[in-house]
């Protein structure tokens, strides 16, 4: 496969590296490999990078490193990309209370797809979802792996307020609102976990890890929520095994 490695400026202090033009776990694997190389190389003048579905964007200080030197470095890194052993991914368990007030659109998603609400919950909580990237709002994951049987269009007009922790579906995507914001996604449930905690700024998820949704009752939701508030809740994380992905459709 001829693998894409296209460099272009994104303004005078950022450089875009395109590794493909589609949403594909194999292209994303190269995104993660490049990130691993960048972490090891620690080039001077580079402050940070943002991985996305099929690109990585570097932020640099042009008074420290020139665009040409930067691109030379990157072409050298490219040569080593195939040899990178990827760091192990984690699966983070996200407990979700589906339906009711926390998931007001569960019935609509079920009707739209000719399923019962219980079937929606079963399908949604069965997959391992790859976190392609974080963006949109602090800690918000762009997830891959939603069953096509759950795809549902957004609301025609967005709700003015969607609570933090809301789990939603928009077309063929699923995601978790990390902060309260307006939004048009179909909300099927809510997690008591904080993806982003402004009190002690931290992020639960990172690109390259996986998410699994675990159905919980309203009562369990309240218990976990109380534990989270008191700082007594440890999110469940386990190593991802490649064969895990295969059980989803």
């Amino acid at each position: 496969m001829d693998s894409m490695f296209k460099l272009s400026p994104l303004g005078d202090s950022a450089l875009l590296i395109e590794l493909g033009r589609s949403i594909d776990p194999l292209i994303h694997e190269r995104v993660l490999k490049l990130i691993t190389l960048l972490e090891e190389a620690s080039l001077p003048g580079i402050h940070e990078w943002v991985p996305a579905y099929c690109s990585v964007t570097l932020f640099y200080d042009p008074s420290v490193i020139s665009y040409n030197r930067l691109t030379n470095h990157l072409f050298k890194l490219k040569e080593r990309m195939d040899d990178v052993t990827q760091t192990e991914s984690q699966v983070i368990h996200i407990p979700v209370c589906y339906g009711g007030q926390m998931g007001p659109d569960l019935d609509q998603v079920a009707r739209h797809n000719g399923l019962t609400p219980d079937e929606v919950i079963a399908l949604h909580s069965q997959s391992y979802y790859l976190i392609y990237m974080l963006g949109f709002s602090p800690g918000f994951p762009y997830l891959g792996g939603l069953s096509p049987r759950l795809a549902t269009p957004r609301h025609a007009s967005p709700r003015p307020r969607v609570a933090a922790g809301s789990v939603g579906i928009a077309d063929s995507q699923t995601g978790i609102y990390s902060i309260e914001s307006p939004g048009g996604w179909q909300i099927i449930g809510r997690t008591p976990l904080k993806l982003y905690d402004p009190e002690q700024p931290s992020f639960l998820l990172k690109a390259g890890d996986y998410v699994r949704f675990i159905p919980i009752s309203q009562k369990e939701y309240e218990q976990i929520e109380a534990d989270v508030v008191q700082g007594n809740y440890q999110p469940i994380k386990q190593p991802y095994r490649r064969e895990d992905g295969d059980i989803s459709h």
Partner: protein, 319 residues
């Protein structure tokens, strides 16, 4: 350590603590934030003898009324918002002494939008992820993660113990904020997603800042830009401060300090770093035009501004 510096008598329209931002967490979706006009903040800091990156107050259009609780050396950079100390007008771009009991207030907008108030010793707010910048949407940083409110007491970090030299910025370096600036851009990665005639219109017509303009971004009105067939969206990818993205409606959006970290609209162009201050000083209703420059030119200007600030830091280092 900290000492009470200001009591907020009235907060103004939008007054927040800002430094040069919070880089390093964009991969988690966290906006960089920081001063909309980083040049004005840095100069204000240098005028009071602070390091360039120290936090100051970003004051937007309608300024606050601040009651001094301690003697202080202050400076205002950026917009001219008719600052007054008690009844005395205070010119921007120079440092001045204020005494305990004084009241600093602001009046009508003379020029620009955003003024920066720096205080010798800096503001004592807890750094969050290495920055004192307020990120309003994320509710972090600055003063309790929000804009100032009436009754807030803001702490200074290091009190003024003895009089320092006052300083002013040489007149030839004072920025002239235009109501119709020419903003320089470099082309973005999706330039080719637009029709040839739209690219031409982008550079030859003027655009207006719409009322939908804030720290996250400015929506522009003006000619409608047309995407090439089937190219109204991209697979989500990073955006930067200054990125001009064009949604399907053809009305460009310029992303500013509190912008999202990723976006799904074609990135037509990116404003060069040295022209971000001119943009920060534009209000809704003001117009602007664009000029394309190449990357070398953008870098030459970037380095020249960096040299200017370094020279200013040298001359303003207190003995």
């Amino acid at each position: 350590m900290g000492y009470p510096l200001f009591e907020v008598l009235s907060p103004g329209l939008l007054t927040t603590v800002q430094d040069l931002g919070r880089p390093g967490f964009q991969q988690y979706g966290l906006s960089v934030s920081g001063a909309m006009d980083p040049l004005a903040l840095q100069v204000a800091n240098l005028l009071v003898g602070n390091p360039r990156h120290e936090a100051g107050l970003e004051i937007t259009l309608k300024g606050p009324r601040l009651h001094l609780l301690h003697d202080a050396l202050l400076a205002i950079g950026g917009a001219d918002l008719s600052a007054k100390l008690n009844d005395q007008p205070i010119a921007p771009w120079q440092s001045f002494f204020a005494q305990k009991g004084d009241v600093l207030s602001f009046g009508p907008v003379q020029k620009g939008v955003r003024a920066y108030l720096a205080v010798y010793g800096g503001f004592d707010v807890p750094p969050v992820m290495n920055s004192k910048s307020t990120y309003l949407l994320g509710k972090i940083g600055g003063f309790k993660g929000r804009a100032l409110k009436k009754g807030d007491v803001l702490y200074g970090y290091k009190p003024l113990k003895r009089k320092k030299a006052r300083r002013r910025l040489a007149p030839e370096h004072i920025p002239h904020y235009s109501d119709h600036p020419l903003i320089r851009i470099t082309w973005g990665p999706e330039k080719e997603a637009f029709t040839k005639s739209s690219l031409h219109q982008f550079l030859t017509h003027s655009f207006q800042v719409s009322p939908d303009a804030n720290r996250m971004g400015y929506r522009l009105s003006g000619p409608t830009l047309v995407h090439q067939e089937g190219q109204t969206g991209i697979i989500s990818s990073a955006v930067t401060r200054g990125t001009i993205q064009v949604p399907p409606d053809g009305k460009p959006i310029i992303l500013m300090a509190d912008s999202q970290t990723t976006g799904g609209y074609p990135r037509l162009a990116v404003v060069i770093t040295v022209d971000l201050p001119a943009l920060a000083q534009l209000a809704p209703g003001h117009s602007l035009s664009f000029k394309a420059v190449d990357l070398d030119e953008a870098h030459r200007l970037y380095k020249a501004q960096e040299r200017f600030l370094r020279q200013l830091s040298l001359v303003s280092t207190p003995l």
